[in-house]
Every structure is written in structure tokens, then in C-alpha cells.
Amino acid sequence: MSTATTLRSRHLLGIAGLEPDEIDLILDTALAMKEIATRPIKKVPTLRGRTIMNLFFEASTRTRMSFELAEKRLSADTLGMTTSGSSMSKGETLADTARTLEAMAPDMIVMRHGASGAPHQLARICRASIINAGDGMHEHPTQALLDAFTIREHKGRLGGLRVAIVGDLAHSRVLRSNARLLTRMGASVVACGPATLVPPGLEALGVRVTTSMDAAVDGADVVMMLRVQHERMHGLYFPSVREYFTLYGLTPARLARAASDAIVMHPGPMNRGVEIDSAVADGPWSVILDQVANGVAVRMAVLYLLAGGDERADASAA
């Protein structure tokens, strides 16, 4: 069903820039990549000789390791840097950081940054392909793609599904990327959280917003839980973890309102007992570890497709 054979941009900055056929292309390609992980030798020479820099300006374990694994399985040369804070905290502008790295001629830069839009600003300066591994509260496109891949794996489709996304909506890049992707692919998305954590603008994407978890979960095919960074909430978004769990914690009883074959997702890391009950996280509905496994395959697909786009760009320039 996918009609695109390449990605139109040489960067992956967000779901916002992807057309449905490109999303299908990435997901179809990821299916082929997933097979590689089942081989005794989990490595193909596809990106041999390519240099990929992993720049993590914000702490990350799973996303960074997932990208590194994807890069290594494609035989790319990789190097990484993890630092906390912005470029500015080192006394260097983002533009200078970009130019410095650019001088070392990487083919791709995978970037995680605490400020929304940082990869977009970098993409205006750099020749390398920029892959957004999460920017502030804005987008986390590979997370949404791996979520879509996981949903498709279990449900066979995205269109027509009812997806509930529950938790800290305001600060979540996972929500924003998933809302963009799922609505674009024809799913019906309902976002749920306390009124203090609902950002403006979700309705513009076609997302229904509710503060009632029961209403959100009712008949859902997919329940996607978002991490609540309760340590940063300062008591102004909700009064206590106890009350949050009472209103928005995913328990087996609450999940009983969803479709009988509903799946439960979480981008991790989970706060057990805050947004999700362990009985659900470890229960038969949970596809949380599938998400992690699929993350590698989806990132391999993205790297592969962006590298291909780069080759063509070089050829046409020659």
C-alpha cells in the first residue's frame, strides 16, 4: 500500500514533515529490518563507511542504546556524546556546536535535546542528515514510528483504531508525535490527563481531549500510558501521586473498560504505581517490551532510508 520508495526530506525532524506513504514506507522497511535481529549474525553491511554521530544533550538510556544498536547492525561507524544541558552551558552556541561537528564530516547526526526545535535549527546549518531523537516537549518521531509499528504488528492496521493516550500531555513529545502520526494514519485518538496538563492545540490535530480516564479507555483498542515526572510537578499540576494514581493510574479494573483484545503501551521508563499498576505492566495486555525490540528495527529503517536519500542527493549534485 505504500507508494513512496524514498523519504522526501534528508532529515527526520518530526512526524509533522512525513506524508502517510512515507510512514508506510518506514514501517514496511522496519519489517525487513526486524528479521535481521533473528539471525545468528545480526549485522548487515548496508551503512559500512558511513559515520553517525549520536549527540545526546539530555540523559537517555533506551533511545541512545536503541540508536547505537541500530547503527551497529547496519555497520555504520558511530560515535556518541552525552552531555547534560544546552550548548550554551558550555559557553558555545548551538550553531557553533553544529559547525564544529560538521567539520568532521559525519553523514548523519542523531540528536536528543532538551529544547524544542533544536534539531530544526541544526538542520538549517548542517549538511548531514539530522535525526531527531527527541526535542524538548516537541517531537520524538522514532518513538511514534516504533509505536505505530508495534500497533500494526498486533492489530494489523492503524486506520480505524481507537487509541487512548493518558498522562502528562503537556510535557510529552511522545504524545505530540503519536497524535500527529496516528491521526494522519486514520486512527481515532483521545488524549486524557488532568486539566492542568492539557496543552492547547491538540484539537487542531483532530485529537479528542478528555479529563476522564474512564471515558478515554472506554472501548479503546490501544491504551498508551505516558510517564509522569512527578518529581518536577511541584504540587501545582496535581496534589499527590496518590491522587494521580486514583484518577489516572492504569489498573486491571480500569482496563476492563477497553476492548477485550486491547494492548497497553508505555514509552518508558515506567513509574510503577504512579501511572501504571504492575499487574497491567507485566500482564497479558502489555506490549511494552515489544516496543523496545521494535525500536531497533524502526531506527534501522530510518537510518537506511535517510542514507539512501543522501546517495541520490550526491549523485544528482555530481
Partner: protein
């Protein structure tokens, strides 16, 4: 030298003039305005028919950055930018380093302005020492040194009590208190208007009521004290509603709006690839309903002035992440073309109303000379070429900084020349032959 501007198109609403008049300028002063004035030894200057002569424009809200941040702007570069933008005078905010909270800083600014010898500079003194929101500055001293108003701009006047005392005290000297209206707790660490665009871009929001809550407070203080309050860079429709209601019951409140707030909306943050830090300013670009409200306020008289909030920042600072880049854009060299294009040619207001907003009202609010071409007053004139098309070219700015979201915009309406005290401070060679003017 005596100059006779012969048969010039004059727009001067205070004097009730909108037509063809002669203006006789002698020793930097307007000697006579009339028809068929005798040349008698004067140099006769005939402007092209396409030109319009207005009383000098006054930008009542600029940041000249000197002393302290000369890498962004100096008084020399800022006043050169003002002249090129058609302004014969600017009022500069006190958030320099050191803050203009003592007469010695005021005197330094005026000394530098005199050395630059370009447009007039009216310093605005701080409300509180260091703009820290605690102790009142020595207002009488600031006034004597040349300050025309008080403000802690960059931040709001910290408490209702300080605002009350400042307005009461300043009223003894006929000085308005200009407030950067913003509730700090509602603003939080927001970087963009709290609306759909920031919501989807993942930027922390600053809601419109963060401004209007403080506007309401200040209007209540003005009403209580009988003093004058001026709302700086108004951006939210809720604030306009408060100002309108205040004016209706006779409160002495005035308000200014910037060209960017009646021209752009939050949509600009998502354009050109998104996250352009030249769309980051405080107050932020708001929703279409706010933009439209500002336009309506300019039209119906509830907004008194257009001011630029000219806020130069170095390119290196604006090259930071959106969250970390400083707020603000330059405005002196784009304001008049934007006003002509978006307000006059768009049919929202006529030239006389624009002259009120850019000249007569700022002069009245600040209590400074100008605002009309009056016999015996300094010959401060802004000469416009309203039908000439200009393309904004940031790289050609006189300002030291280029942080503008309008780079590359084509606008109908140009500044032809700027005359300060009878002296030509700027000529736009494309609109006017410099030889056709005078030295």
C-alpha cells in the same frame, strides 16, 4: 540658513492641516506655516509630489543598550537606525548596565546622544533602584537630569504598592509610569504565546491574561491615585478590553502597540522551518484574535501610540535554542513601512491617524516637544514616500543588530527623509534626490 519648503503635502492633525502648505524654517525652527509664503532670501525646496511631510515621529519605546551592552547597540548606532527609520526622537528604556536609575547615567546617555548628533534622545528612568522592585529611584534628580518617564521595563513594576507609590510620586513631576505588564507567576518560564502553535511546537506558553491581569492592576492604581499609567507593548485582547474600560470611566491610562503585534501572529513561529528565534519576543506574538484586536484598537482610538520596542540582540545570542535565545527584535528601521503598508494602505486608518499614533500622542504622553509642526518649535519633520515600495534588508540596517522577522519583506511605504531641528538627519536616496534637500 533659511529653508522654504514650497507647496509640500502636510499631514498634521494637531494643527488641523492635511493639504498643501509652505513651511519656512529658520535656524532650525519652524518660522511659519502657510500658503504662498514669500521666499525672501530662503533656499526654496520643492519635494517630489509623492512625498508627505509629517511632524517628526517619536518612538517612545526603544532599547539603545548603552551603557553596558554596546555589542548589541550603541547610542550612535541606535539613533542612526532611528533616523533611517523616520524617527526624529526616541525614548530609551533604563534596562542598561548599569540601570538608568541615577542622574549620572541619564547624563551619560544624553552626552552620548549629543555626540552622536542624530535624533533626539529622551531617557526613561527606572522606577526602582536597579529595577529590583524595592526602593523608589530619586525621581526629582532623574527628572532634572532629563528623564521624561519612569519604567522598570523588561520586568513589571514588582508590586501593587510600589506601582501606587511610583505613580503618586511621579505625578508631582508630570511623568507617566510606563509598565511592562506581566504577571511573573503566570508567565513562568514561558517562551511563546500559550496557544495552539506553542502547544504543538512544545514551547512553554505565556497566556494573554499574564499581561491583562497586570494591566487591570495598573488601571486600578491609576484610578485610585489619579496619576498616569502607560501600558508598554500591549499584545493581548484582554488587555485592550481593560484599557478601553478604564478610558471609558476617565482613568488616565494610555497604551502603545508594536508593529509586530499588529502584523504577525503565533503562526510565524511555525514558518520558515519553525523555531526562528527572531519570532521570539516578550510579550509574544499572539493569536489572530489578538492581532485583529490591536488593529481595531489603533483604528478606534483606544490605543494611543505605536512604539517599536526596538530590542537589539547579537546574532550569536539569537543563534541559541529557542528556549535560551533572548526575547526581542529590532524595529526602528521597519516600523514606518509596516505601518504604511499594513494600516494605511490596508485601509484601516488614514495618514492623519498614523501621525497621531507615531508623533502627536507619544509627544503628549511623554510631555516632550513635537507632535505638530508649530511656529516657533524645532523643525522636526518626517518626510514619507507613502507609495514607494521597499524591501526590508536586515544586512543594510544602521542598527548593530539584525534580529528581525521581517527580513526580505516587501512593503508599500517608505521613509524619504528625516529632519531634526532643521538639519537633514537621513535621506533615502531612492525616494528623494539628496541634492534636492539641504545639508
Amino acid at each position: 540658513m533659511t529653508i522654504l519648503l514650497k507647496a509640500a503635502r502636510l499631514v498634521d492633525p494637531v494643527a488641523g492641516r492635511n493639504g498643501v502648505f509652505d513651511v519656512l524654517i529658520l535656524d532650525g525652527l519652524v518660522r511659519r506655516v502657510g500658503t504662498d509664503l514669500a521666499a525672501a532670501g530662503a533656499r526654496v525646496v520643492r519635494l517630489p509630489d509623492a512625498c508627505v511631510v509629517a511632524p517628526g515621529f517619536i518612538d517612545m519605546h526603544v532599547h539603545l543598550r548603552e551603557p553596558g551592552q554596546e555589542y548589541k547597540e550603541t547610542i550612535a548606532s541606535g539613533t542612526a537606525a532611528a533616523a533611517a527609520g523616520g524617527f526624529t526622537a526616541v525614548a530609551c528604556m533604563p534596562n542598561t548596565d548599569p540601570v538608568n536609575d541615577t542622574a549620572s547615567v541619564t547624563e551619560f546617555i544624553l552626552k552620548r546622544a549629543a555626540e552622536a548628533g542624530s535624533v533626539r534622545v529622551y531617557p526613561i528612568g527606572a522606577v526602582s533602584v536597579g529595577s529590583k522592585g524595592e526602593h523608589l529611584t530619586e525621581v526629582a534628580d532623574l527628572r532634572a537630569a532629563g528623564c521624561v518617564a519612569l519604567s522598570d521595563d523588561g520586568r513589571p513594576v514588582a508590586t501593587a504598592l510600589l506601582m501606587r507609590r511610583a505613580v503618586e510620586y511621579a505625578s508631582m513631576f508630570g511623568m507617566p509610569v510606563i509598565d511592562h505588564c506581566e504577571d511573573p507567576s503566570l508567565k513562568g518560564d514561558g517562551v511563546a504565546h500559550e496557544g495552539a502553535v506553542a502547544g504543538l511546537l512544545g514551547l512553554k506558553g505565556i497566556p494573554g491574561p499574564a499581561e491583562s491581569i497586570m494591566v487591570e492592576r495598573d488601571i486600578a492604581v491609576a484610578e485610585m491615585t489619579g496619576g498616569s499609567v502607560h501600558v508598554a507593548h500591549m499584545s493581548a485582547r484582554q488587555s485592550l478590553r481593560a484599557v478601553r474600560a478604564g478610558k471609558e470611566r476617565g482613568v488616565r491610562v494610555t497604551a502603545e502597540v508594536t508593529p509586530h503585534h499588529f502584523t504577525l501572529t503565533e503562526a510565524a513561529l511555525a514558518e520558515r522551518g519553525g523555531f526562528d528565534t527572531n519570532t521570539k519576543m516578550n510579550p509574544p506574538l499572539r493569536e489572530e484574535a489578538d492581532r485583529a484586536a490591536m488593529t481595531e484598537g489603533l483604528r478606534d482610538g483606544s490605543i494611543d501610540a505605536i512604539a517599536t520596542d526596538h530590542a537589539p540582540h547579537h546574532a550569536d545570542e539569537k543563534a541559541l535554542e529557542f528556549d535560551h535565545a533572548p526575547f526581542g527584535i529590532v524595529g526602528l528601521e521597519t516600523a514606518v513601512p509596516i505601518c504604511l503598508d499594513r494600516l494605511v494602505h490596508a485601509g484601516i486608518i488614514g495618514l492623519p491617524r498614523l501621525v497621531e499614533l507615531l508623533s502627536a500622542n507619544p509627544a503628549r504622553i511623554l510631555g516632550v516637544p513635537g507632535g505638530t509642526i508649530a511656529e516657533g518649535a524645532p523643525a522636526d519633520l518626517t518626510i514619507l514616500a507613502p507609495d514607494r515600495t521597499v524591501t526590508v534588508q536586515a544586512s543594510a540596517f544602521r542598527s548593530k543588530s539584525r534580529n528581525t522577522p521581517f527580513d526580505g519583506w516587501t512593503l508599500k511605504g517608505a521613509v524619504a527623509a528625516t529632519v531634526v531641528g532643521g538639519r537633514v538627519a537621513y535621506v533615502n536616496g531612492a525616494a528623494l534626490d539628496p541634492a534636492g534637500l539641504w545639508a
